[in-house]
Each structure stands twice: as structure tokens, then as C-alpha cells.
Subunit: 417 residues, 2 copies
């Protein structure tokens, strides 16, 4: 029996290489079940402003959906919009539900991170309290991998595969001259060190790489770091350090804040703007050069690490797609206020199953790298981290190249259709 | 009849994704002809210090050579070492030739850019003047693509493929929110704009990307740039600009120097070091934010663009390998003081042949982007640039992944062997 309803799907928060694979999973499964699929242009904020895409038309051919799986960032567009608390602004929810009912929406799927799960939690709570039939399901997505209630989050594996690949390539690049050097690779993750830790996947048995890994979960002992670098340089030419943008001094200030302050006594750049959260690597490169006198270099992976679809993890994209589809099946069965989740069965061979986690256990919590994933001296990750992260980057995706560049599907194509 | 000699091969200058493919070409061809292949550890500087690798042993299996083709940077190690002029220091050359003769070297192959071709030029000139039988051949390599005497240089195509791919991914990433933004992507190339121009390959018919391309061949008119950005923002949300690290103001100062000066009146960073050649993108992001009030972002592709083997161009690696082999064949025929070169026969379909260019026509010259490859207003490249560069990035290389990361061969493996 066909699921004769409209389903509404949105994407929220920062882009990843896998968020469109989850959209493809929602779309394919909902359409297979007979539903019509509407998309929120620019997230819940766009939907409330009346911006709806008819995805049955936009994604008209199987090739469109196949390209969607390989296209980074958010095909539908995204927003950063926190819903008010239902008790503070009931008018907001009355309006939102009136709009959902006007569009004959039977189920809402929101693909995103922490704030998006908060959106699902609030909407589903209001819905339950007001006896709405609309189902609300969260589909997890964040390169930061800091959501609770799931073994890991789609988007993380692909970002980690890019980070590991690039860390290995940078290490080759740094090793060509017969001189002492320290290279700092600055990686995203303000509070959680999952991304920075994934640099360890560049290592091979008997040949660890990078040499050190500095996570935001551990405050930096700068003297201990310099001492360790000095020892490393005694026995090898090329030292490579992965460092999170969110690493802090023992007094709680971010290294990058210290960098900005050191320059001119304020945290403003030359044009009076507050310095952005980067410069951690540059700060450490400068400190190390002063203290040890060797060549240093800082490299920021910047936004490249969250949209590098050309080196996406096949495992990641498959899970992202599966979690989208599993969310639709759950809604079809009448479930609401849930997040699609991954439960790991085994590390090697890697086995997992999809699951559902009550949304109130997820929203507004975050998951840090556990202590036993970090070495005792706080300057590296352990074998447990590698065992956890390795399977998530395995498998390669064959991009569709046109003119030598991976082909994407974009809203421009959609607007033309 | 076997070529019963020792050949010596070295790598010099900055790393690329293709320099090891040229080494593989030299190695395979020389060994097929019956020669023994010696490698310079850390270039000519290392050779003169007695650091020789026996590559017949180091690269013992066909799989080693296959991995070598897919490994970025310089497998042998590199140096930045300018030879003295023969007339200034004949003792240097007497010593060098004595060492070559002691190692029974019949031919020397040096893979590198401008400085490396200068090395070949000086050695071959001394050799000719002193009736040496040793042949000297240069194999071109530089991501900068600024060598004369060849249509283009190995290493350029792979760097360009990474730049185009990443520019497209960054454009996706920058487009997700419903707000006005300008993103500056800072690309290598102090004097020549070949790399920055290759960002245009991210565009598709009817959908140019990036919006603007700023090359070092054109001094910046900052007011004209801001005016153009303002117009672009009137009709679209997301503007992306590719900018060379080497762009200068009309008074001749580098934008990145201006950035450092603006911060504290000097060109020194907070620790008293001279600021490195980067910050061009950050400078433009800050200026644009001040002038136009929109969100801005600066992203440096940094060293990633020269060692991204995981997205190497198959055309580039095949040409790099072919030029290595062609150099060996030329030496076998008795040629010396030559550089292996590429002559383009046609753009589409792309057809080329290998060639030889007298080394004195190459050394110490450099090739800029010609004026007709740059738009009249100096803010973009033309269709002629795209037609030139497109074939060089075509074709994908299947990396050998192990544990989800491209596998490389390194000196560590060689040292163990």
C-alpha cells in the first residue's frame, strides 16, 4: 500500500561530503514507498518563508540522484537557525504547524548536527503535545562526529579520509630536503578532537604519522611540546604535528587567540575585525621556530576538509544514504521524535546496523574523544582511536569526471529544470 | 646491444605529484636498455657528498615502480643548490667529474625546474669543453609551468587538477547559506599565473567558476576589483575569486607584504620573523569585508596543491613518465645538453609528441601567461587559457589504497630493503 503523503526534507548546519547522500537516501526511499518529496530551500528558515522545492521534479532522473550522492555541501541550501522554546513562543509553532499542514506534510526529515536535532526535538515535542500526526525524524550529519546516540556521524568518515590522505601527502612533501623541519597541520574541531585525531590514519604499521596529535580535549603544555619536538628532531629530519584549531593554553585561552594578541595586543586584525578561529598552527610554528631554530611551516586544511567529495569514503556515503532511508522507514511505521543512528557490531571486519535513538537523548549534548583514545602524555592518540576510526574511511567512491573535474549537481541545474 | 653503463638520476627543487613518475620513466627505460641506475640522494648536493642509492636494489619489484608513479614529492630527496659558474670555480667541476667517472657514470638525468636546467647546462658545458663522454639531459618538472622550450611541464597538470577540483568543491561549500559572501582562494605562483589560472577549469559551459581570477602578470587595481565584486554581489549570493600569492599593488609591493605591514608597520610577524609569502587572500578578504560589508573568507591551498597525488592527472603522469624515458633514449643516442620536452600537436583531441630542446635555450628563462590568455580588464582568464589547460588535467589515476589511504613508497622502505 502506497504511503500517500508528502514528506518534507531539509538540511541544516555546515556542509559535508555526505549530507547529500542522506538526502538521496530519504528521497529514494520515500519515493519508492509512494510519497511525494518536498525540499526545504535553506533549511527550516527557508521553509517557513515559503521556499519549497518539488524534488520529484528537481531530481527527475536516476542519474540526478547518483550525482547528488557525489556532490558535496548542501544541495537544498542550509541555515543556522535555532527554534525558540515552545513555552516562550507558541505562536511560532502554531504558524509552523499550519504551514506543514497546508503543504499536507506527513513526515519531516531534518539532516544535520546538534542544532538540527534540537529543531526536531522541539517540533516533535510540540506535535505530541498538540496531537499532531506529523512525524519528525533527525538524520545525523556532522564532520565533527560529536553527536551522542550514534557510533559516529555521516560526514566524519569522508572528512577523516581527506585528512589522512592529505596528512600523508604533506608528510611526503615535507621530507624532501636534508634539513630539520616541523610542520603543523591545523584541523577543524573547536571542542571535539575527532577530526584532528583522524590524522593518525595516515600512519602505517611501524611508521606512525603524524608524529604528534594535539586535541582540544587536552590543554597544551607548551614546554612539554617543545621538549618532545626537540627529542624527535634529534632522531629524524621531518616532524609533522596535527593540531586542532580549538587547542587551548592551560589558562583557557585558545592558542589562536594568543596568536592574535601577540601580534598587536588585541584580538582584532588590521582592519578592526575580530580574528577568526584559525592561526593555531601559525602560532605553534612561530613559537617552535623561535625556541628550536628549525624550519617550520603551518598548513590549514580549512574548508577543504569538509567538502572533499573527490576523496569521499565509500563507507561514509553508504551509511549516510542508509540512515536517510532508515529514517523514512521509521516514520512510515509511525515513529517520531527519533534520530537515525549507527550501532557498531564489530571493528574488523567492520559490521554495523542502523538504529533509532530517542531525540531527547541527543539534542544539546556533545561527545568528546574519550580519555583512553588519547595517550597518557596528551600528545597523541592511541591504537584504540585508530581501531575506531579506520573502518570509517575505507572504500573509495568513483567520482563522475567531466573535463577532468568531478561533476556535481547544483541548484542552478535545479532552477533550470 | 645492451647499454653497458651506469646512469645517474637526481631530483631537484620543489616536490610535485609527477616528479616520481619521471624517475620511474628514467629507471624503467635505462634498465630495459641494460644500464644500471644510480640515484642521487638529495640531488647533486647529496651526490657530491657521496650519497648514492642503487636503484636496481631499491626498486626491486615492478610493484615498487608502480607505487613510485603514484607517490608524491621526491622519492630520492631534493636540494636547492646552484652550481658555481665554471669560470669562477673550475675546481668544483674537476671534483664533480672525478666523482662521476669514479662511479662509471655514462649519463646524468636531472629532473627539476629552472635551477635544475641551469645545473644541466653548466655540467654539459664543462663536459663539452673538457671532452667528457658523459651525457647530461634535463627532465622538466615544475608545478609552476614556467619553463620555456616545452608546451608545459610535468607536475602542472596534476596541480591544476587538484586546484580545479578543490575550487569547485569550495564553491559548493560557500553556496549553502542564503547570504552574500566572497571567498578568496590563494594559489601558488609568485611570478607566473599558470596555477592560479587553472582554477578556471572548475567552470562548466554556461557556469563559469570562479568568478574572478587574479594573476601576478597583472598588477591589481583594487578599486576596480571592489567595484566588480559589488556588481557581482548584486546578482548572486556567492562570489569566488582565485588569487595568486604573487599579486602586486600598482606600486610593486606584494599584497601579502601590504597585509603584514598593515598589521604592525613592519613586515615581521609577532616573533620577529619575516612574514612568509602568504596572506594575499587574507588581505583581500579583510579589504573586501571593510568595503562591502559582506561575509568574506580566505583559503590557502598551500602545499596541498603540489603533492595531491590522490587526484593526479593521468595525462600528467603519463607525460612525466614518457619524458623520463625519452631523455634516456636521447642520451643512449649520444645526445647531451638537452631537455626532454613536449610539443603539442592539437588541443582537442589532445595530441602531443616528445621532443628535445637545447638546454641553453631553457636555463634561466621563464615563461609567463601570455596576454591573450588574460581578459582585457585583467580580472579573469580567457577561453584560450581554458583550451590550453583543459587537456592537461584529463584522465584519472587509480591510486592503490591501503586502509583507506593511498599507499606510497618511501625512502624508509628503501632504507629497509
Amino acid at each position: 500500500m502506497a504511503w500517500n503523503t508528502n514528506v518534507l526534507v531539509g538540511q541544516s548546519g555546515g556542509p559535508t561530503a555526505a549530507i547529500n547522500a542522506s538526502l538521496a537516501g530519504v528521497f529514494d526511499t520515500a519515493r519508492d514507498l509512494g510519497a511525494h518529496v518536498l525540499g526545504m530551500r535553506y533549511g527550516i528558515e527557508g521553509f517557513l518563508a515559503g521556499r519549497i522545492l518539488h524534488l520529484d521534479r528537481t531530481l527527475g532522473s536516476p542519474m540526478d540522484v547518483e550525482l547528488l550522492r557525489r556532490t558535496p555541501a548542501s544541495f537544498l541550501g542550509s541555515c543556522r537557525f535555532m527554534l525558540p522554546r515552545p513555552e516562550d513562543d507558541p505562536a511560532f509553532y502554531r504558524d509552523a504547524f499550519a504551514k506543514l499542514e497546508a503543504a499536507r506534510v506527513g513526515a519531516v526529515f531534518y539532516i544535520g548536527g546538534n542544532d538540527s536535532m534540537d529543531t526536531i526535538e522541539k517540533l516533535s515535542r510540540w506535535g505530541k503535545e498538540h496531537h499532531s500526526d506529523i512525524r519528525f525524524i533527525g538524520i545525523p550529519k556532522t564532520i565533527d562526529n560529536d553527536l551522542v546516540g550514534t557510533d559516529h556521524t555521516p560526514g566524519y568518515g569522508s572528512a577523516a579520509k581527506f585528512i589522512a590522505t592529505t596528512t600523508r601527502e604533506i608528510t611526503r612533501d615535507s621530507s624532501v630536503y636534508d634539513l630539520k623541519s616541523v610542520t603543523f597541520i591545523e584541523i577543524m574541531g573547536r571542542d571535539a578532537g575527532w577530526l584532528t585525531g583522524s590524522a593518525c590514519l595516515a600512519g602505517e604499521p611501524g611508521n606512525p604519522c603524524p608524529d604528534l596529535v594535539l586535541l582540544p580535549e587536552v590543554t597544551l603544555n607548551q614546554d612539554a611540546l617543545l621538549q618532545r619536538l626537540s627529542l624527535l628532531l634529534e632522531r629524524k629530519n621531518t616532524v609533522v604535528v596535527a593540531v586542532s584549531e580549538g587547542v587551548r593554553h592551560r589558562d583557557g585561552t585558545l592558542l589562536c587567540e594568543a596568536a592574535a594578541e601577540a601580534a598587536d595586543g588585541t584580538r582584532l586584525d588590521a582592519f578592526g575585525h575580530v580574528a577568526s578561529l584559525s592561526g593555531t598552527g601559525r602560532y605553534l610554528a612561530s613559537v617552535t621556530r623561535s625556541a628550536l631554530g628549525c624550519k617550520t611551516r603551518a598548513i590549514e586544511l580549512s574548508t577543504l576538509q569538509r567538502c572533499a567529495s573527490h576523496v569521499a569514503s565509500a563507507t561514509d556515503l553508504a551509511e549516510a544514504y542508509a540512515l536517510g532511508g532508515a529514517g523514512v522507514l521509521a516514520a512510515r511505521e509511525g515513529k517520531t521524535a527519533m534520530m537515525s543512528a549507527i550501532t557498531r557490531i564489530f571493528d574488523k571486519p567492520y559490521l554495523y546496523t542502523t538504529d533509532l535513538t530517542p531525540i531527547e537523548e541527543v539534542a544539546n549534548k556533545s561527545r568528546m574523544v574519550p580519555r583512553d583514545f588519547i595517550s597518557a602524555d596528551g600528545l597523541n592518540v592511541t591504537a584504540s582511536f585508530e581501531r575506531y576510526a579506520r573502518p570509517l574511511i575505507e572504500g573509495e567512491v568513483s567520482s563522475t569526471y567531466l573535463g577532468g573535474v568531478p561533476h556535481h549537481i547544483t541548484q542552478l541545474d535545479a532552477d533550470r529544470a
